[in-house]
Amino acid sequence: MTPRLRRLENHPDQWLQVRPAGLYCVPGDFYIDPHRKVDRAVITHGHADHARAGHGHVLTSPETAAIMRVRYGKNCAGTFQELSSGAWVDHFGVRVGLVPAGHVLGSCQIVLEFGGWRVVASGDYKRASDPTSADFEVAPCDVFITEATFGLPVFVHERAEDEIAKLLASLQTFPNRTHVMAAYSLGKAQRLIAELRAAGYDMPIYLHKAHQRLCELYEEFGVPLGPLRRVESATATALKGGVVLAPPSASREGWAEALTEPLNCAASGWMRIRKRAQQSRAELPLVISDHADWPDLIRTIHDTGAEEVWVTHGREDALVYYCQTQGLRGRALALIGREEEPE
């Protein structure tokens, strides 16, 4: 049997479609990360633009299911089907498996096998090590569906420990200023805490109420975060020279206004670009991201051995162009409803 001949039939173009609700698998009758309510959804990870409430049936990792229940309530989906990474299910002739994506706790790539083809929908992913998330695993495939949040060669992230060292150095230079780190509540906050702990920072870290429940959940899943306190009940004196994690929107709250000379920090891949860092008005912009940087995007494409790469969201042009220079078929999937970087 010559694979080429076989492959002209059942090409994924024919059974994976972009529909208004998102990426749809025709024979399996399910969507991947739909941004509207659907009957059947397979979810890569718990960020709000990938995991929405109200689906009939959700297949996802146990961690993502738990995250969705915490964020949206127990009845946020009709039924949850939890699948551990490495396990497979058969559904209307489509084999579905989950493989760790390294993005946040519970994040997975979705492996689909149908008609002799193997497709991997990576969701969001990163290759850099992260104490709060299982490491990315390469899943060999024919078609690799990749994100491209940082799909330009200028996006080269720093090593998280080097960036955390900058934060620790800043705490030495400004021992009286509270370092307020803007961080979204799922993933970024816990990673920053864990990286601080790994660097030997053992003081209490102050959390905004928006972060508390998910931090507890991470600890329930065996990610130790060390001593945590609520920022709302801490005095300005206690916060002096300390580290606070809060959502970006919290800067007008009472505790924030009581701080004298707070030092605003931000951690994101966008901080790589000076103009963006200046616009963020953070005095300490750290280049730490939950997404793959350019070198890791192209490394991953090669690692999967895919002959075809579909680019879902971010800066598709450069990545599609790159695939073409490598003799791979590159194609931009126009998925709507994705935010710039849901960190």
Partner: protein, 543 residues
């Protein structure tokens, strides 16, 4: 290099002066000589490491990257040095990133033709050994770009002084211009390992004597007291003219060397001297010479190269009012009356067109003089100086327990007062609810569709009462038209009571004018915005 580039990165995003000083002094404390000395020279602009042109850098990166990806990246980032710093392929090299001293050593070799041809390879080797942030700083340095991140030199000197418990900023400023990079003698002195660097016979900066602003009551009181002398308070830029050993320097208020921008003022006089005075720029027209605006002055200060046309059409003048040294004799401890005598003597032997003496005025007629200020050319007020006092610069040792400014009292010209419409508000980053950092004001113009608004200038919200700010904040919440980051444009509705020293014409601005030192006096409740000042009436105020 890493510590230096990290410092530059942080200075770029650190707004508060005291925090910038803390970052720089931390760096100076942790960095050995001569590395920190070269850093000091680069931060103050005393030294340039320019060795190549952007085209050379572009050619280097084009050899190493895909042309289409480079274009897409340049498009997104906008800056060549930054794009290259990020795109440059990481390479496994055992070499360490170059330190500043290494770059300084390489500088003189660039003069020879052979090394010029070899330079791209040298630069590529350095870039290979660097990380992105280091590459950016390196590339900026190599093309002669500034790495100063908008930090004034006085702040860098303050950071150096912060290494010492005893040496103050003013003392550092005073020796600064006698020193050269890498400033080993300066650090030795600051850190208590050496003597104060010798400044004898060198043209160095002397800390300025400062004045305080007073109202008419105090001013008239002083005028009646025979201990006090009266002069005009001149518009223009306060400078110090220093000649030592036949070499002339012109220093700004911050102690920056302006000599290159004003070559016509640097012809040596027959004897060395140090003058305190006011610098102005004039416009030569067919009708004669008239006083230039503050904008004309700033434009000349910023010039990097001088042309004969500029010297002919925009000549600079210096009005001197004090003398700090004459013929190598420090006069600062003499009473002002004696200094004025020495100044008059000196002015008598100097015949330079660019130099004139600020005259002493008759104290009996200060009231009339002050009322006549509007008609005088270049005077923005009167100043009263105590005749029996020495010249006390900002150096505490000289101040003899006096508050700065007690000996010189400024009575500025009555301010112009008008009402203007609030167009934009800018919030303090991370600040509290009613914390505005800047307001943009507008004046009324007549448009085809009726009255419209045109921006006339920015003003600090300081001076408004808390309840006025709360009112503006409540209004801003309901009536924001657009947001641009921390800036909001508002619907017309808030009318403010504004005063300013004067109005100058400005070709650069849409309104055609510039408000000089505007301040807010309060909020006009119940005044419709259409009744605020019109642009035409402000333009009519231009002297």
């Amino acid at each position: 290099m890493k510590a230096f580039s990290t410092l530059i990165d942080r200075l770029t995003v650190t707004p508060a002066p005291q925090h910038q000083i803390a970052l720089i002094s931390d760096y100076l404390r942790q960095t050995p000589d001569p590395e920190r000395g070269y850093a000091l020279a680069l931060l103050t602009g005393e030294m340039s490491l320019r060795m190549t042109r952007p085209a050379v850098i572009r050619a280097l990166v084009e050899e190493r990257t895909d042309a289409a990806l480079l274009d897409m990246s340049l498009d997104y980032v906008g800056d060549l040095a930054e794009t290259v710093s990020l795109l440059w392929p990481a390479s496994k090299t055992n070499r360490a990133a170059p330190i500043l001293s290494e770059l300084v050593e390489a500088l003189p070799q660039q003069a020879s033709r052979r090394s010029k041809a070899d330079f791209p390879a040298t630069l590529a080797g350095w870039l290979d050994a660097c990380e992105p942030s280091e590459r950016f700083t390196l590339l900026r340095l190599m093309t002669g770009g500034s790495v100063r991140a908008g930090v004034p030199t006085s702040r860098v000197k303050a950071a150096a002084a912060a290494l010492s418990a005893t040496v103050g900023t003013a003392a550092v400023e005073e020796v600064w211009h006698a020193l050269t990079p890498p400033y080993g003698d300066l650090f030795d002195w600051i850190e208590g390992l050496g003597l104060r660097p010798d400044t004898k016979g060198k043209p160095v900066f002397h800390p300025f004597m400062l004045g305080t602003e007073v109202g008419p009551e105090t001013a008239l009181n002083r005028a009646a007291d025979s201990d006090w002398l009266v002069e005009y308070l001149w518009s223009g830029a306060r400078v110090q003219w220093v000649q030592a050993g036949g070499v002339v320097r012109v220093f700004s208020r911050d102690g920056d060397d302006l000599s290159a921008a004003f070559p016509e003022l640097t012809r040596p006089l027959p004897v060395d001297a140090v003058f305190d005075g006011q610098l102005t720029v004039h416009l030569r027209t067919e009708a004669g010479t008239e006083l230039g605006t503050g904008e004309d002055l700033e434009r000349r200060m910023r010039r990097k190269t001088m042309t004969p046309a500029v010297l002919r059409d925009r000549p600079a003048r210096l009005k001197v009012f004090d003398i700090l040294a004459a013929d190598r004799e420090d006069l600062r401890n003499l009473p002002l009356r004696d200094r004025r005598e020495r100044l008059a003597e000196m002015a008598g032997i100097v015949e330079e067109q660019w130099l004139s003496l600020s005259p002493l005025l008759n104290p009996a007629s200060v009231r009339e003089l002050h009322q006549g200020l509007a008609g005088s050319i270049g005077a923005k007020g009167l100043i009263f100086k105590r005749g029996d006092r020495p010249y006390g610069g900002a150096d505490p040792a000289r101040q003899e327990g006096m508050k700065p400014g007690d000996d010189w009292l400024k009575w500025p010209r009555a301010a112009l007062r008008f009402s203007a419409v609030l167009l934009y508000v800018q919030r303090v980053a991370g600040g509290s609810r009613a914390d505005f950092s800047e307001f943009t004001l507008g004046a009324v113009t007549e448009d085809l569709d009726g009255p419209a608004l045109v921006p006339i200038g920015k003003v600090s919200p300081a001076g408004l009462a808390t309840e006025d700010l709360a009112h503006i904040n409540a209004f801003a919440k309901e009536h924001t038209r657009e947001r641009f980051g921390p800036v909001r444009s508002l619907e017309a509705g808030i009318v403010l009571d504004v005063c300013c020293e004067r109005v100058e014409r400005s070709a650069r601005r849409k309104s055609g004018l510039r408000l000089i030192t505007p301040r807010l006096l309060g909020l006009h409740q119940d005044v419709p915005w259409q009744q605020a000042v019109t642009l035409q009436s402000l333009l009519n105020l231009i002297a």
